[in-house]
């Protein structure tokens, strides 16, 4: 396995909230076209890391360099959250699903293509008069949404209100919606939470497909070891805001530091699950 280029490099990232240090001098490399897992006990700072990455928090110190394949180097810590998604194409999902619940599944996926469509609608003027340019852009957006719906086996639910659907399906919709933004780095925050074993297995397949076939780099926070150990190329372990270990799934699994961090908390379940997987 040749070492791929680094897509995102996190350097000495620190995030403080008053007296609380949620992330403490964390450094991490995310390679292009690979799946990088982030694990750690509850409250370790995993979601805070995502919030820093995607512009929702401004890090106290540290740098987040993204080597964008087409747009050159970008500094994520300097961008507001919408530009992280729009310009740097780093797109995230949320631990507690955040869909647009009253809108249909298809609308959710089309809203994700807002910037492309808004440009085509020329400040809504081309849109108001349905000029051909806008009509074409809208057709493409629907096609693209339909393609992702079909890939994620959601086509039959396209016209249902997203909020009315079961939890596992909402997770899939959120991933489909993120894919419509055309990400170079997809940050998934516990995508397997609340999924049954069959759904988790499907998620594994999907992640491997996205990464293997489409070359999308994935950063994955996950507690479900059957997912994270099976799909990750590389895993970083965080505890109390610090990186305590890093390596391949096999290395991490047997790292004494990691075992200590997990056994110290009430997370034995996960380690056992990981050992079984």
């Amino acid at each position: 396995m040749n070492t791929p280029a680094t897509l995102l490099s996190v350097r000495n990232l620190t995030m403080r909230f008053g007296g609380l240090t949620a992330i403490d001098d964390l450094s991490l490399e995310v390679p292009a076209g690979r799946i990088t897992g982030i694990i750690g006990p509850n409250g370790a700072g995993k979601t805070t890391l995502f919030n820093c990455l995607t512009g929702f928090y401004k890090p106290t110190t540290g740098t987040l360099r993204l080597a964008h394949p087409r747009r050159g180097e970008m500094r994520l810590e300097a961008l507001p959250s919408h530009r992280v998604a729009r310009d740097a194409q780093v797109v995230r999902t949320f631990q507690n699903i955040r869909l647009f619940p009253k809108m249909t599944v298809l609308e959710n996926l089309i809203v994700a293509q807002h910037n492309v469509l808004q440009r085509a609608s020329k400040f809504s003027i081309a849109g108001l008069f349905t000029l051909p340019g806008y009509r074409e852009a809208e057709r493409q957006a629907i096609e693209r949404a339909a393609m992702w719906l079909a890939r994620l086996k959601l086509t039959h639910l396209a016209d249902n209100a997203a909020g009315d659907l079961p939890y596992g399906i909402q997770r899939r919709i959120e991933i489909a919606r993120a894919l419509c933004v055309d990400p170079v780095l997809l940050c998934l925050d516990e995508p397997a939470a609340g999924l049954n074993p069959r759904e988790s297995a499907e998620l594994n397949e999907l992640l491997l497909y996205l990464c293997g076939e489409l070359g999308i780099a994935i950063l994955l926070i996950e507690h479900d070891m059957s997912v994270v150990m099976n799909v990750s190329d590389h895993i970083g372990v965080i505890s109390y805001g610090r990186k305590i270990a890093e390596g391949t799934p096999a290395q991490v699994k047997h790292d004494p530091q990691v075992i200590k961090a997990y056994l110290g908390e009430d997370e034995e379940e996960d380690v056992k699950g990981g050992a079984a997987a």
Partner: protein
């Protein structure tokens, strides 16, 4: 008792009897002073006479009536349940059916509103009230953009209505602009104020947003009251020119070198001509507003408004600039309110800060909420109700507002989501796309 009286399930006959018994009992208690006792004149003094026979008949009627009502309600409910069970229609299909009914209603309402001044061409009161309804419909559609679609609770909407009205009043009285020249400028003026209001409150949501917008509405009104040199203060602005029909005035006699409407068409002069013209003018403005907002809703900007209402954080995560989305909602909502204000000033011929008090904002907001947030037809229905209920209530004099409040409480109990809460998707995946996408995915 209330559990029995307001039961939501179908009742057994015994329950129905007991329910009717309770209602008859309440009827009896109320009936003793109202029906059972009556005052009579006994040789110049006031005496009391009992009418227990009549009371018994009334209570029996209440009992029978309640029994019958309950039975009818249960019958209807059972029939509905059977229908639901029998039909294999999905929720989406049913929603589609509901939308069709709303569409038919819309065309009927349009037909009725076009025919109304023809049918009531000599009834000043009807045409005037209908014009008021249409002003509120237009205001409701404007506020619907801000509150119903973008989910930004605005309690000071009347400020934009005032900006529109005063812009036209000042432009026409001071600079001699005509209605059609002033209309777009006043709309742009109101939109500017919308953006001015929008900027400082970008970070606020919910209750906090409501309080600041409320304050903004009051600021505009207080400025209009106090800045006498500019706005005429509490005296307002009078003799605002009326809109003309392509240059034809609606007056009895025209000044030199021009013609009146009646003269040009060889009609006998009637003050109703102007009222009917104003009615059709606001109808056209309202329909344009409707077409504009309905179209915007299906454009990226409209979908972005709805997405903003649903989840602002998710919008940012999808790369949407929520600042621009909020400002565009405020600007467009304000512009539509401004247009309505221009029409209002032109119709009244006189405006003062009295017309732009907080109650107006509250009524417009009530129209949007009552109609069902984001529903265009709901606004029409709610505006009609909210203007007509106080009109019908005129006979009840001081109980008029009580009636109004009661009607609102009842509607909110009966339909908590608004009169028409159904949301029509802005886009559907058609069958062709479905098969194409499935094939694409299979490859």
């Amino acid at each position: 008792m209330s559990a029995v009286v307001f039961a939501r399930h179908a009742m057994t006959p015994a329950e129905r009897l007991r329910d009717a018994g309770w209602v008859a009992f309440v009827g009896l208690i109320l009936g003793i002073p109202l029906v059972g006792l009556t005052t009579v004149d006994v040789g110049g003094r006031l005496g009391v006479e009992t009418r227990f026979g009549l009371l018994a008949a009334a209570v029996a009627a209440v009992f029978a009536g309640r029994l019958l009502l309950r039975w009818a309600i249960d019958q209807a409910r059972n029939r509905k349940q059977e229908r639901d069970r029998a039909s294999t229609a999905t929720a989406a299909d049913r929603a589609h059916g509901a939308q069709r009914v709303v569409n038919v209603l819309g065309w009927v309402a349009l037909g009725a509103s076009i025919a109304l001044p023809i049918l009531f061409s000599d009834n000043r009161y009807v045409v005037d009230t209908a014009t008021t309804v249409l002003i509120y419909v237009m205001l409701g559609w404007g506020l619907n953009v801000v509150v119903g679609l973008a989910g930004l609770l605005d309690l000071g909407y009347v400020a934009f209505y005032a900006v529109g009205a005063y812009s036209y009043a000042l432009l026409s009285t001071q600079f001699g602009w005509s209605f059609w020249e002033a209309l777009p400028v006043s709309g742009a003026m109101a939109a500017t104020f919308g953006i001015l209001l929008g900027y400082p409150i970008l970070r606020l949501r919910g209750d906090y947003l409501a309080i600041v917008t409320l304050g903004f509405g009051e600021i505009i009104r207080i400025i209009l009251v106090n800045w006498t040199e500019f706005s005429g203060g509490p005296n307002g602005i009078s003799s605002i020119p009326r809109p003309s029909f392509f240059g034809l005035d609606f007056t009895r006699s025209a000044p030199e070198g021009s013609q009146t409407f009646a003269g040009f068409f060889g009609l006998e002069f009637s003050p109703m001509h102007r009222l009917i013209f104003l009615y059709y003018l606001i109808l056209v403005l309202a329909l344009l507003t409707h077409a504009f907002v309905s179209r915007l809703r299906k454009l990226p900007v409209g979908r972005a408004w709805e997405a903003l209402r649903e989840d602002e954080i998710a919008c940012q995560a999808m790369g949407m600039n929520t600042t621009n989305i909020k400002l565009s909602a405020f600007a467009i909502g304000a512009m539509l309110g401004g247009f309505a204000g221009v029409f209002f000033a032109a119709r009244q011929g006189f405006i003062s800060p009295e017309s732009f008090v907080f109650t107006e904002s509250a009524i417009i907001l009530a129209i949007v909420v009552l109609g069902g947030m984001g529903s265009q037809m709901g606004v029409v229905l709610a505006a009609t109700l909210l203007v007509l209920i106080p009109e019908f209530g005129r006979n009840f004099a001081e109980y008029r507002m009580l009636l109004f409040g009661l009607a609102m409480v009842l509607i909110m109990v009966w339909r908590p989501g608004g009169l028409l809460a159904h949301r029509e998707p802005t886009v559907r995946l058609n069958a062709l796309d479905k098969t194409a996408a499935t094939q694409e995915a299979a490859r």
